[in-house]
């Protein structure tokens, strides 16, 4: 046992530990498949890990469109249906135009759009040309678009239909050479379209702006190999793998890793169908689910919360065979409400842009309320102390991940990259979690937000959730403040019609003494980030 990590393997199936986790299919296709049994919280024998991480197979995730029947429907956008044949034609045409315009390996292509056909065409065309693609949302306040464009510094920009409105102020954006997607499709020539440019696994395919807000926003670089790995796990040949019979609901933004890789790339790779939607509206969305017999729904907690409240015939969701909630913690009440109303057991997953995105999922085994599931096959997850020591079973620690899906770093930011990624491939997520005895992961809070009172860890998320249970509390942010006696003390910022005394009594009844805020600030409004999340950082002293 010279490798210390061997000792950390606790939840594995020893019988499968020596089995290679991923293998190249014998038909030479670059699709990697994984066996069903997850290995030791995703543990892979180092020898096999080397095979995966150092594969030099040429691939391009844009080839995912190929091989599916031309007549079968790939995309549904409102009343418009686009078949695979049609989609490939549009993509080939646009690729021909882009390549003849000089777009090639190394060109940085910005795609501005929403969940629409143009967006899909633009992505596959640019990727197929060998370019590095950066997708951003079109429907955003102009200053935000401007800030993102400036951060990306594109060589070439592709504008989707929803980005039309930018025309008025196009002079204020440094877009490089700019094409309107529909016009590029019309101007290109399918007949002379060159083949898709194959890339190496480590070549960057996509760069995504992480949801880190304003000043510290980062651009994560994801390789073809990163994206391919996660898709491969999702489409693995198991009873729960995504197949050509599946109809996926595409409402999550395709500019975000969850929508992009787990929904778009994965579904089209197997010849499935995606129902695109730009805006979630509970009733209209339910009708879409019923009309198109949607089988896979990837959603965020607010969607499920609203669906739980809809007064409808539960059979509207009868076609759904797999429903997942990600992006943020799913309240247990919502989990129970969806199960009671629609008979659907929501699967929770956990991932980050930097992990393409999947780390844990709930697929092929029972969900557990409050848990984000178990590591995907081929994804190693360990929990560590700040000094890197792997914590004991049942203890909390920072979630650290190693997998072929772990990103290649932040663009032009070695400092930020080196603060989260080590040479041996471990990505430090900054999230604190704990495994139960069966290997299910439960998330606790962000590491940097933990308040340490007299040596005891206080997780602001727990205190905030208690405060929010008070009927008069609209919002709450909990942070730490230096304290001479206890090191740090807990401070609560609360919006709502409630007195400090009442909050204090409320917390004392429900929380251990050291977790109770020692200071309350009643405020009108709490600081909110662009993505709608409350901003603890703004209130940290």
């Amino acid at each position: 046992m010279s490798d210390p990590l061997h000792q950390a393997r606790r939840f594995g199936h020893s019988s499968s530990a020596s089995e290679p986790c991923c293998q190249i299919r014998s038909d030479d296709s670059p699709i990697r498949v994984c066996p069903r049994e997850p290995v030791i919280r995703g543990f892979i024998e180092p020898a096999d890990a080397g095979d995966i991480l150092n594969t030099t197979t040429a691939l391009n995730i844009a080839t995912g469109l190929n091989g599916h029947p031309g007549a079968s429907v790939a995309l549904i956008d409102g009343d418009r249906e686009v078949t695979y044949g049609d989609l490939r034609n549009q993509v080939d045409s646009a690729r021909q135009l882009l390549m003849s315009s000089g777009v090639s390996v190394g060109t940085r292509v910005l795609v501005i759009g929403e969940n629409e056909v143009d967006f899909v065409v633009a992505l596959y065309a640019a990727l197929g040309a060998g370019a590095t693609v950066v997708p951003i949302k079109a429907v955003n306040p102009f200053p935000e678009v401007q800030r993102k464009v400036a951060a990306v510094e594109p060589d070439v920009t592709l504008l989707c239909a929803t980005a039309d409105w930018l025309n008025e102020r196009i002079d204020e954006l440094v877009l490089g050479e700019t094409f309107v997607v529909a016009e590029a499709v019309a101007a290109g020539d399918v007949a002379t379209a060159p083949p898709i440019v194959m890339r190496d696994v480590d070549d960057i395919a996509v760069m995504l702006l992480t949801s880190g807000v304003t000043s510290d926003s980062k651009i994560a670089m994801l390789s073809h190999g990163n994206l391919d790995f996660v898709q491969g796990v999702f489409v693995a040949d198991t009873e729960v793998g995504v197949t050509s019979d599946d109809v996926a609901y595409g409402v999550l933004p395709l500019t975000h890793i969850f929508g992009l890789n787990a929904v778009l790339f994965t579904t089209l790779r197997v010849g499935g169908r995606i129902v695109l939607e730009q805006r979630f509206e509970a009733m209209a969305s339910l009708e879409l689910v019923e009309r198109h017999k949607i089988t896979l729904i990837s959603g965020a907690p607010p969607m499920w919360q609203r669906w739980a409240l809809c007064d409808v015939d539960p059979s509207m969701m009868a076609s759904v065979r797999y429903a997942v909630s990600g992006a943020s913690a799913l309240p247990i009440e919502t989990f129970n409400a969806i199960r009671a109303k629609y008979g659907i057991t929501l699967a929770e997953g956990y991932g980050l842009t930097e992990t393409s995105p999947a780390v844990t999922w709930t697929r092929g085994f029972e969900s557990r309320a409050g848990s984000v599931g178990k590591p995907l096959p081929g994804v190693e997850v360990i929990l560590v102390d700040p000094d890197g020591t792997i914590v004991e079973e049942g203890d909390t620690g920072e979630v650290v991940v190693r997998s072929p899906g772990v990103f290649r770093g932040y663009l032009d930011s070695p400092e930020q990259t080196e603060s989260v990624l080590t040479e041996d491939g471990w990505f430090w997520t900054g999230d604190v979690g704990v495994f139960d005895i069966d290997g299910y992961l439960y998330l606790v809070d962000r590491l940097k937000d933990i308040v340490i009172v007299s040596g005891f860890n206080v997780y602001p998320a727990e205190v905030e959730s208690i405060l929010l249970e008070h009927p008069e509390v609209r919002g709450a942010i909990v942070v730490g403040t230096p304290n001479a006696l206890s090191g740090e003390a807990v401070v609560a910022h609360v919006s709502g019609e409630v007195s400090v005394d009442e909050l204090d009594a409320f917390c004392r009844e429900r929380l251990s003494r050291y977790k109770c805020p020692t200071e309350y600030h009643l405020v009108e409004e709490l600081p909110v980030a662009a993505n709608g999340k409350l901003l603890r950082r703004a209130l940290r002293s």
Binding site: G102, F179, G370, T389, D395, Y410, S419, Y442, L447, S454
Partner: protein, 292 residues
């Protein structure tokens, strides 16, 4: 202000140890403790007089196993080394004092210990467990093991936190004899129930409950708490490094030693990481460009 705790003997014919030996042995020990030391017990009313309960004291000296049980109004059981059963000197008296031998050499010693403890609790008796897992050689109060929380959830038993002061002076770590005449205080806190801390199947609940118990013990014993398990190589005031598998930290990770984040990045390499990039050449074909 020494005070003798009222004691009621509970017969337990189905547990190891002779009841008769136990009855007289305990009476002798309690009388001896009372006469030889100045023991103060606070909060004895917190110990339930019937039904199960988990006594969870801090652990500083070998003699804690004498003084804490002597402060309780009921018989209490605990796990002891199986080796004591090999010696004629201890094989009768230790079980009579409440020690249940568990063979620690086996692979599943921890599981066997927990099963034994569950058996005691399910009979509605008191069980004592040191949540630190071992004696604190640092003299700090260490991070608690979750075993007590698991037991409490499994057996619907409250945990009763206990903090004591003074046993270390009575029997220092290197001493076999107990020094008579010294004072010792044993403080017993209010019972705590894991169900007040959330879903008992959630591992976060076990940790939150355990931390809350340790917080109460620290308040009772006056010890400083350290969020690190007790280790055999700790010395007074100094914590040893756990001998556990470890991975390298990211080179520019903010320092972990800081309380409450806000650390700055320190030096490191300057390798710029970005994909190879080539500016697109001027437009070759008849393409549409905005603005016109």
């Amino acid at each position: 202000m020494s005070k003798r705790t009222a004691f009621t003997f509970e017969a337990a014919p189905d547990l190891p140890g002779s009841d008769t030996l136990s009855k007289y042995g305990l009476a002798i020990i309690r009388a001896a403790v009372d006469r030889l030391w100045d023991v103060t017990v606070e909060g004895v009313e917190n110990v339930p007089l019937s039904g199960p309960g988990i006594i969870a004291p801090n652990h500083l000296s070998f003699c804690d196993s004498i003084f804490v049980p002597a402060a309780l109004p009921r018989r209490v059981w605990a796990i002891g080394k199986g080796e004591y059963m090999d010696s004629w000197k201890t094989k009768h008296i230790f079980p009579a004092m409440g020690m249940i031998p568990v063979d620690r050499s086996g692979g599943d010693a921890a599981k066997a210990a927990l099963e034994t403890a569950a058996r005691v609790l399910n009979q509605g008796r008191l069980f004592m467990i040191y949540p630190e897992g071992t004696r604190s050689r640092s003299e700090f109060l260490h991070k608690g093991r979750t075993g007590a929380a698991r037991l409490a959830a499994q057996c619907n038993a409250p945990v009763i936190p206990v903090g004591h002061i003074g046993t270390l002076a009575i029997q220092p770590p290197d001493s076999f004899m107990l020094k008579p005449g010294l004072a010792c205080t044993i403080r017993i806190g209010a019972p705590m129930h894991p169900d007040d801390f959330g879903d008992r199947n959630d591992p976060r609940t076990l940790r939150a409950f355990t931390d809350a118990v340790m917080f109460e013990i620290a308040a009772l014993s006056g010890q400083k708490y350290v969020n690190q398990y007790a280790h055999g190589d700790d010395t007074p005031g100094v914590l040893a490094h756990a001998d556990r598998p470890k991975i390298a930290r990211p080179p520019r990770r903010p320092s972990p030693s800081l309380v409450g984040g806000g650390a700055g990045a320190s030096g490191g390499g300057t390798n710029a990481i970005s994909p190879p990039r080539r500016k697109a050449p001027a437009i070759a074909g008849a393409t549409k460009i905005i603005p016109e």
